[in-house]
Symmetry: C2
Subunit: 546 residues, 2 copies
């Protein structure tokens, strides 16, 4: 480094090097000094209505951009993003949490400062459980090293990290002549890799119907091109998990559909489970991905390759990285599949006639959306029928579908649209959110307005927690039925439309598409008992566990 | 116990014995079975829009009722109430967190179940940092004992506890012939108590101006009557801290005002700091209570007595309980103060003439509120000028003022009104909340409607984070200026009024008072730079630390 930097300058410099354009958060007195420095940097600070919104937005930003940042004050801010940090941890999203804290000099003699819970390190201990690396900056001498350590771990593991910055160290100079810590080199062990590739090859050569099941790590480690190369070279069909949906473009020749155990279409389920060589790449074996464990693989003919570990049959190889495994497998002259057989695809109509006075249903909504979504849109889905209905959507390019499909924290979608559109300015988010989720974080529309974004928000109003009704119903699943489409009058901007019929939907979506200057909020009035076919199957499985 | 109970029955029975009438939360699949059991019990389940709202509501309920409960699902629910649990911990509020979790049978072989973060005990480890006792129920044999242990600790320490309930144990029978664990007997050590009382008495006998400074523990341990008895018997004036505001009725003869270091009125500050025998009872020495440490006591003549510890001068007595200390001191024939001198009180007008076309200001608002508040109202204040302006309010009976005056987490007031009014049906909450705080949790008005509550909500709209502007201003302190008074049109119920002048305020408050069937939301349009005198002093102190 040519110039000597303050701790704040060094941290912001690192973020600029990572091409971070936006930081999400809410200001507070223990972080205000750093907030001012962000304002004076090239990075835009997006202050959301509540810290929860900032947490979700930074997670979404991280999923698209490769590195996200949420910046909040001590405890009253930090503890509001524990849930979103947990989401990023569970679903592998590289988010840096920067929290302000009382100055080192203020912490002497352990006084009772506002925002303090128990001891001064209570918040850090909590984030230790939710991150792959955490640091409480305590001295300018070690600050840069600590910042590097946390950021490098986030980049390596694609999981969150935590930096706590006492306010009296923000503008203090760090060490002279500091050499930044290099990223860990992720080198596979050659011998281990060789044996794993040989064994994989042998499995492939015997197989008649090899299939790839691709998961979210393909996206997180930016391996889409490598994956496509492998598949194209040997004509191997690719299905994805629900968490990995859209890691490959769904209109590609070899695309086989979304697999989710018995909750997927029967043809996709059979296709995956009857494969004589199933290559699971970068996918997590979660209950959601496996359709509440209704998915059953023949382990002997299955290869699981993840970030830093590969398993074949019942044995494991350590010290192999996914990227090396895919590259070497591509090089290793597998037998080319001569006749590609794909599962029967459900007919996706390219045009649909909507009936003017027919009550809109979940099923028809998603059918119509398939004709509506264009290449400039990305689908951001909340949990519940927003997610399960979306299984039937066909997306076009990479990373066009985003949902917390494993951790399943509701309230994700509206604030995620903020993170997604600031990360990818050319895309327009199509947000699909239930009324229950909207009541949690829907106020972040105010942030959408302030930062000039223009998502189209489809609010599926089924009057309560529709996913839970078939599992166990009671008054606890009812919520107040707002006139959601009137919210633009409160916020002073935006297009709000109430949709009751198929005809309404068609007209409203057209209006929304043309309303490019601001957001559109379509309140879609659904029957309380209306469920997508996938959700019906899912809740039957989930309900049996209660 | 006559009948053999399931774990759920036992837990609900304990809560009924504690006269818990309402439980706050949001349902989710890992807690649905228990939700159904609550629905079938005499306890009402209040489902809020977001878990954060339930957390704040349960804290407020606990402060008034003596025991509060928040009930949520695993991780995606639980981690959303970490901040409100931290608040309850810091400010001593007895809240029980009940979280659902995956069934014991589902946890075998460590599968990746939805809502799981890292390991199955991640959430419990986090709550270990935020509670005085926590239990993950793992067996019906120990379940009742564990429930008793956690509940007894909450009652003893008036701080939160945590119970994690795997869904497959909810309806499982516990042990036969179980004898509930008794509460710890809090007995002071007689010799220690005797010495402390003797030393205290000696200090009192020499003193000319003894004063009591009462804090929040007086309220939490229900010691208001004991305190009044002590003060009345010996004619000792009582001031309170800001966190303890309203632990004694502010129109009592011996009431001396709210002390807050140099942020209080000069006369109250002098009165406390120049006392030759200051008896600090149940108060925490927090930065807020001490006016950002501008408060300075002569330690030699100060007695601090808290829940289980008393200090005089520079030495400490352990194993003395506050209740015993107050009782014994009352018995010990102190010298009676013959001439009670109280600090000069600021004039509180009983009638005020509001000028029709004069722009409303913070100062005038609180002056007028002093003439408006009646005995049936309780003031619930959020953080910022809602709190500091409220210092000038005179409340009438016990526990009429509620605010997170130490932990200072914004967004408290609206959901707290739900907890407060369900705990104390005869009181009507007067909620004072800033626009920044309202954007965090204001949607809980929907919950207010569903449960037929009727608070009067004064929304102080100063267009952003007004408390932060004088410390350090920037775009990060700006938020979108909603048309808040139009929200009743979205929620379909309620009275919304826009207040710009003194005349508007007078009319609007009258309308609100008469609007008893539902809530009223008064949007009070303030100048962006309008600050209360107390906030001006505070932010000058706080700003110097950034």
């Amino acid at each position: 480094m040519k110039h000597r930097h303050t701790i704040s300058e060094y941290l912001l410099l690192k973020l600029e090097q990572l091409k971070v354009s936006h930081i999400f958060g809410v200001p507070g007195d223990f972080i205000l000094g750093f907030n001012k420095n962000i304002e004076n940097s090239p990075i835009t600070f997006v202050n959301t209505c509540d810290e929860q919104g900032a947490g979700y937005a930074s997670d979404a930003y991280a999923r698209l951009h490769g590195f996200g940042v949420v910046c909040i004050t001590y405890c009253v801010g930090g503890l509001k993003v524990t849930n979103t940090t947990a989401e990023a941890f569970a679903e592998k999203s590289p988010v840096l949490v920067i929290s302000g804290s009382p100055g080192i000099s203020e912490q002497k003699n352990n006084p009772m400062l506002h925002h303090k819970v128990n001891t001064f390190d209570t918040q850090k201990k909590i984030f230790d459980e939710l991150t792959v690396a955490s640091a409480s900056i305590t001295s300018p001498d070690t600050a840069f090293q600590e910042i590097d350590r946390v950021i490098n771990a986030i980049i390596k593991y694609k999981q969150p990290g935590y930096i706590e910055l006492p306010r009296d160290l923000v503008n203090v100079l760090g060490p002279k002549n500091y050499t930044p810590q290099p990223l860990d080199i992720e080198a596979s062990d050659k011998d281990v890799l060789k044996e794993a590739i040989e064994e994989s090859k042998a499995l492939f050569q015997k197989a008649k119907h090899p299939v790839i099941l691709a998961g979210v790590e393909i996206h997180r480690y930016n391996l889409q091109d490598s994956l496509n190369k492998l598949a194209e070279k040997y004509n191997i069909p690719i299905a994805t998990t629900i968490l990995g949906k859209s890691v490959i473009s769904e209109n590609r020749r070899l695309y086989a559909g979304v697999y989710m155990g018995s909750l997927a279409s029967t043809s996709v389920q059979k296709f995956i489970e009857q494969s004589d060589c199933l290559l699971v790449l970068g996918a997590f074996m979660t209950d959601m991905n496996l359709g509440i464990f209704t998915g059953k693989f023949e382990k002997k003919s299955t290869i699981f390759s993840n970030f830093d570990r590969t398993s074949i049959g019942y044995h494991h190889y350590e010290q192999i990285y996914l990227k090396d495994y895919i590259r070497e497998l591509t090089k290793s002259s597998l037998k080319k599949v001569t006749k590609v057989i794909l599962p029967k695809k459900e007919n996706i109509e390219t045009t649909i006639t909507m009936k003017d006075n027919k009550k809109i249903t979940i099923k028809r909504l998603f059918e119509y959306l398939n004709t509506f979504i264009d290449k400039k849109m990305m689908v951001i889905s909340d949990v519940g029928d927003s997610l399960f209905g979306s299984m039937a959507l066909q997306t076009n390019a990479r990373t066009e579908f985003m949902a917390p499909a494993y951790y399943a924290s509701i309230g994700f979608a509206v604030p995620a649209a903020i993170g997604a559109q600031t990360a990818s300015k050319e895309s327009r988010p199509l947000v699909i959110v239930g009324d229950g989720a909207f009541q949690m974080t829907g106020q972040e529309i105010a942030t959408i307005i302030r930062f000039n974004l223009n998502p189209i928000i489809l609010l599926l109003n089924n009057k309560g927690y529709g996913t839970e009704r078939p599992m166990m119903d009671g008054k606890f699943n009812d919520i107040l039925n707002w006139k959601y489409h009137k919210l633009p009058e409160v916020y002073g901007e935006g297009l709000g439309i109430f949709v009751q019929t198929e005809g309404d939907l068609e007209k409203a979506l057209l209006k929304a598409k043309n309303n490019t200057k601001t957001y559109s909020l379509l309140e879609i009035d659904l029957d309380k008992t209306d469920l997508s076919p996938a959700l019906k199957r899912l809740t039957a499985e989930l309900g049996s566990k209660i």
